[in-house]
């Protein structure tokens, strides 16, 4: 049976509406998206031509008795990444590169694997079929060695051709879930209604979904699946209707990020994150908001700088008198990650985030969202989140 939403009164969303208004005003002030660094969806013929051009260059090198080489942007080098408040982390236009040579014993294998994946992409695009990165790995797992090799090469190719991965007909496996007030049409015509009681898997073809419809007042990104399921069980989407909930089940996959980006671009509704009060959770939040180093070349398609941190804030721990027995000491790894985040360029323009992180660093303690269950089993969905949303408890 379809789910019938029964949300709070309209006055409940006053602060949210004001927030949305300010976001829209900021968008208007900021103008259109910066040009030049975004990746556009390339047509199949464009992708095929690009690959053919690369092959021609290789053959020409060989004809000149020169060893062919690929020139690859250093995607994961901080020197090639800059921060812009409106975009997040993205690659600079003239970045440093490295050569993958065919005549070097160290890089010849990588050179060959890049060509191998080029040939597979060529076939996929030509036949208009799709494959996931995992599929590609399993075509010859012995040759590739491990999934990371395949993932890196695919990203390098995407960066090289300046097209999103989708244009290469390579999909990432979706692991995210959606729930709430959202309907859309998938590329193959399937109608999806996320208002059902159970969550819907994030589709693998985000670019292809159409006719998105929602009345949601906000989008809540939940870090963990456990918390997401708990909220579902507590009928949160109904109680806070109209709203949308998304989870990437930890570090989000590309499709989940693309979906969040698409929802923001389409509806410009406030986006909040609900993460654990620990460095890992904060990092996940930063990935949604500012992007990752590895995918910085596609930042314009993936980041939502408008995201706000709803909870669990380190300051909430003290404010709510969360029992100390529920807290966990920061490990050495946590400390290192926290220090690393504090040094990142985007934190400088987030003084409140910085302050929260400093509270965490000083206390040397972290807390999971589940710590709120020590206050009451449904504290999260009944008290914490509604209060936060009603009174603007986000930073």
């Amino acid at each position: 049976m379809a789910f019938t939403p029964r949300g709070p009164e309209a006055s409940f969303f006053e602060v949210l509406d004001q927030h949305r208004a300010s976001l829209l005003a900021a968008l208007r002030r900021g103008g259109k998206e910066p040009a030049g660094s975004g990746m556009r969806l390339a047509s199949s013929s464009e992708v095929l031509s690009s690959i053919e051009k690369i092959i021609q260059d290789i053959v020409t090198s060989l004809a000149r008795n020169e060893a062919p080489a690929f020139t690859i942007d250093n995607r994961s080098s901080w020197e090639n990444i800059k921060f812009e408040d409106s975009v997040g982390l993205h690659m600079v236009s003239h970045c440093t590169t490295r050569k993958i040579k065919s005549d070097s014993p160290k890089s010849v294998k990588n050179f060959a694997l890049i060509l191998k994946i080029f040939s597979m992409i060529y076939k996929l695009v030509q036949s208009n079929t799709y494959a996931t990165k995992r599929d590609i790995y399993y075509t010859d797992s012995q040759l590739f060695g491990n999934q990371t090799v395949v993932d890196n090469i695919i990203n390098d190719i995407s960066c090289m051709l300046k097209v999103p991965r989708r244009s290469l007909h390579i999909l990432s496996t979706s692991k995210g879930l959606i729930a709430g007030d959202l309907k859309y049409l998938e590329e193959d015509g399937t109608k999806v209604n996320c208002t059902r009681a159970t969550a819907v898997a994030v589709p693998s073809n985000i670019q292809g979904i159409q006719n998105l419809v929602t009345d949601a007042k906000f989008l809540l990104i939940v870090e963990k699946d456990a918390t997401f399921q708990r909220l579902l069980d507590d009928n949160f989407c109904n109680k806070m209707s109209p709203c949308i909930m998304v989870t990437g089940k930890g570090v989000p996959d590309l499709n989940t990020r693309l979906l969040v980006k698409k929802l923001w671009d389409t509806f410009h509704i406030p986006v909040f994150t609900l993460v654990d009060a620990d460095p890992h959770g904060i990092e996940i939040m930063c990935i949604y908001k500012y992007g990752s180093m590895a995918m910085s070349f596609e930042a314009h398609n993936l980041t939502v700088p408008a995201i706000r941190w709803l909870g669990l804030l380190p300051s909430d721990i003290k404010r709510l008198n969360i029992p100390k027995c529920t807290l966990i000491p920061l490990t050495k790894r946590d400390q290192m990650k926290l220090d690393s985040i504090l040094k990142r360029p985007y934190i400088t323009c987030q003084p409140f985030w910085r302050k929260e992180m400093e509270i965490m660093a000083d206390s040397k303690m972290k807390a999971e969202i589940q710590a709120l269950t020590f206050l009451s089993s449904d504290y999260l969905s009944r008290v914490y989140l509604p209060n936060k949303l009603k009174f603007g408890g986000w930073i």
Partner: protein
């Protein structure tokens, strides 16, 4: 009657030892240079049937002569070759010093003997073998050897190798130098009166370079051992002490065959008449029982070359006759000395062989990895090319490689990739040497620093093994640079090898042409090779620089790339030899 071979070899040895002693302490690190002409003119004897009257002339020019006193020479020869000396006629009035037009003093000695034709033929081969071994160590000495029998002349020049434009991607071998070990002298040999130490330093190389055949799992099909004494001169054994009859018959003496999985049997192919240098000891390696030859096994296999350098050290410069005495001692008692020192010698050689085989194994793996990668690259390009519906793209690709069709395109693509990558392998073959020299630097420097004040570097020689015949691979020569430190230094030797190759068939076509003054081009496989690993830094402590250029300048200019790589290696070696802590 005994032929001229023994006398020729002994005289040449005498001249070289003399030169070494004269130059030691004067020009450190300088390679011996000069030209020696050996000619044998034989005519049918008027007095005896089936006998040739041979007049042998040995003439020396250049610094090889410097300081030689004729009277002393003749007196020494009388003691060195007593039996021979008494039986031959020395044309003493023609033994003279003369000065050639260039102003260099020259030296000439002539002696006569009656020999039967078979003896002369055998002796000629013995002399050639000796010369080939000598020039392996002393490349700056050139030998011009001619034999004229009843007017038919054949001449051969040793020391100016010419190289074929081989098809081999790497015309080098990469010798691995082992640690020198002190040899123990048995009690019954001590009485000779040696006042010093004998050390043995092994050098191991695989021939041809593993990279040549790295697409196959090369097996070791034979082992060749070359024995050298002080001053880099090959050891010559009297018949009673033939290496094959003594300790060398024990195939397990040098190398633990089981450990290396090599089933060795002494080789019976001891023929000198094959236009190549004959190793002192040779083993064939047979497949072990139950071992199946995989499809990838190269049926011809590789040869493991083992060079053993026995040297003599003491606290002060060694005299000529002492060195001569050591040679004599080694020639007659080497087996006993090696038996006495079996444990240390075997450990030393085994370690060096293990390292060389490990290098070989790594090289094979690296090359296999390269081949596999190139195969993937080619197949990927072919997949795109053949699957493309863009005729313009396909035609452009075909035209670029000048291929008529897709099949030819694939072949040319494969070949092109090989060519561009093999070039890098040549580079790597030469430059991996430098990296191999870096380990053990600190340890070696410490040792050499301690002994530096009392030691001096003396260049042993440049070793060049000329025309080693390798079944199926033809004729190769190896060039090595060897630098010996004086007594007290722990690690005396550098080795630096390179080779070039040719096929036996080709060499056959260029053999001596009787009736003309054709010069056989010795197909050196000249390897500018790898300086041995692990030992270099220890030698680097000494400031002496090896003169390394002149022999290379005589090389065949046909291979410009080899020249460049060779000169690069030479200059590198000079730097290493000259660098290091000062006194």
């Amino acid at each position: 009657m005994e032929g001229p071979a023994v006398a020729v070899c002994e005289i040449l040895k005498y001249l070289i030892i003399h030169q070494r002693c004269e130059t030691a302490g004067v020009s450190k690190g300088a390679l011996l240079e000069g030209q020696l002409v050996i000619s044998i003119e034989a005519l049918n004897s008027k007095h005896q049937a089936n006998t040739l009257h041979c007049v042998t002339t040995i003439a020396a020019a250049g610094s090889i002569y410097g300081g030689l006193v004729l009277k002393k020479f003749l007196k020494d020869m009388q003691s060195i070759l007593p039996g021979f000396f008494a039986n031959l006629n020395w044309t003493s009035e023609e033994a003279s010093h003369s000065q050639d037009a260039s102003g260099l003093r020259s030296f000439q000695v002539i002696f006569e003997a009656d020999v039967n034709p078979r003896t002369l033929m055998t002796d000629s081969l013995v002399i050639k073998n000796f010369l080939r071994k000598v020039i392996s160590v002393l490349p700056k000495i050139r030998f011009n050897f001619s034999v004229k029998v009843n007017g038919i002349l054949s001449t051969e020049i040793f020391g100016t190798p010419k190289f074929d434009a081989t098809e081999l991607p790497c015309s080098r071998i990469h010798p691995v130098l082992g640690h020198p070990v002190m040899l123990f002298i048995p009690d019954d040999v001590v009485g000779v009166g040696l006042l010093g130490e004998l050390t043995l330093t092994p050098a191991v190389a695989l021939c041809p370079c593993p990279k040549v055949f790295s697409n196959q799992l090369n097996r070791i099909s034979s082992i060749s051992i070359f024995l050298y004494g002080p001053s880099g001169l090959p050891l010559m054994f009297p018949n009673s002490e033939q290496p094959t009859t003594a300790v060398f018959k024990d195939t397990s003496y040098f190398i633990d065959g089981k450990k290396c999985r090599l089933c060795m049997v002494p080789s019976l192919d001891l023929s000198l008449d094959r236009g190549s240098v004959l190793p002192d000891v040779s083993y064939q390696v047979e497949s072990g029982e139950g071992e199946e030859q995989s499809q990838n096994m190269d049926p011809q296999g590789q040869t493991l070359l083992l060079f053993l350098f026995v040297d003599f050290h003491r606290g002060f410069p060694v005299q000529k006759m002492e060195l001569w005495g050591v040679h004599t001692l080694l020639s007659t008692h080497l087996s006993a000395i090696l038996r006495e020192s079996h444990s240390v010698v075997q450990d030393c050689i085994q370690a060096t062989v293990d390292w060389a085989l490990e290098q070989h194994h790594q090289a094979v793996k690296a090359h296999q990895k390269l081949q596999a990668s190139l195969s993937v690259a080619v197949n990927s390009i072919m997949s795109i090319m053949t699957g493309s519906t863009n005729s313009s793209f396909r035609n452009t690709c075909l035209q670029t490689l000048q291929a008529a069709d897709t099949q030819e395109f694939g072949t040319k693509l494969h070949k092109s990739f090989h060519e561009v990558t093999q070039h890098r392998f040549l580079y790597h073959c030469s430059h991996e040497v430098k990296q191999q020299l870096l380990p053990e630097k600190n340890e070696a420097e410490q040792n050499t620093e301690e002994t530096h004040e009392n030691s001096s570097l003396e260049l042993l020689a440049v070793i060049r093994v000329d025309t080693v015949a390798l079944p199926g691979f033809g004729y190769y020569s190896v060039e090595y640079w060897a630098v010996e430190s004086a007594p007290g230094c722990r690690h005396p030797l550098h080795l630096h090898g390179r080779y070039g190759g040719g096929t036996g068939e080709q060499t056959e076509n260029k053999r001596l042409k009787r009736g003309s003054q054709a010069v056989e081009e010795t197909r050196a496989f000249r390897s500018a090779g790898a300086l041995s690993p692990s030992e270099a830094a220890s030698r680097r402590a000494e400031p002496t620089t090896a003169p390394l250029t002149s022999s290379r300048s005589r090389t065949d200019p046909g291979s410009g790339l080899e020249d460049t790589l060779w000169l690069q290696e030479i200059s590198n070696l000079s730097e290493w030899l000259s660098s290091g802590p000062g006194p």
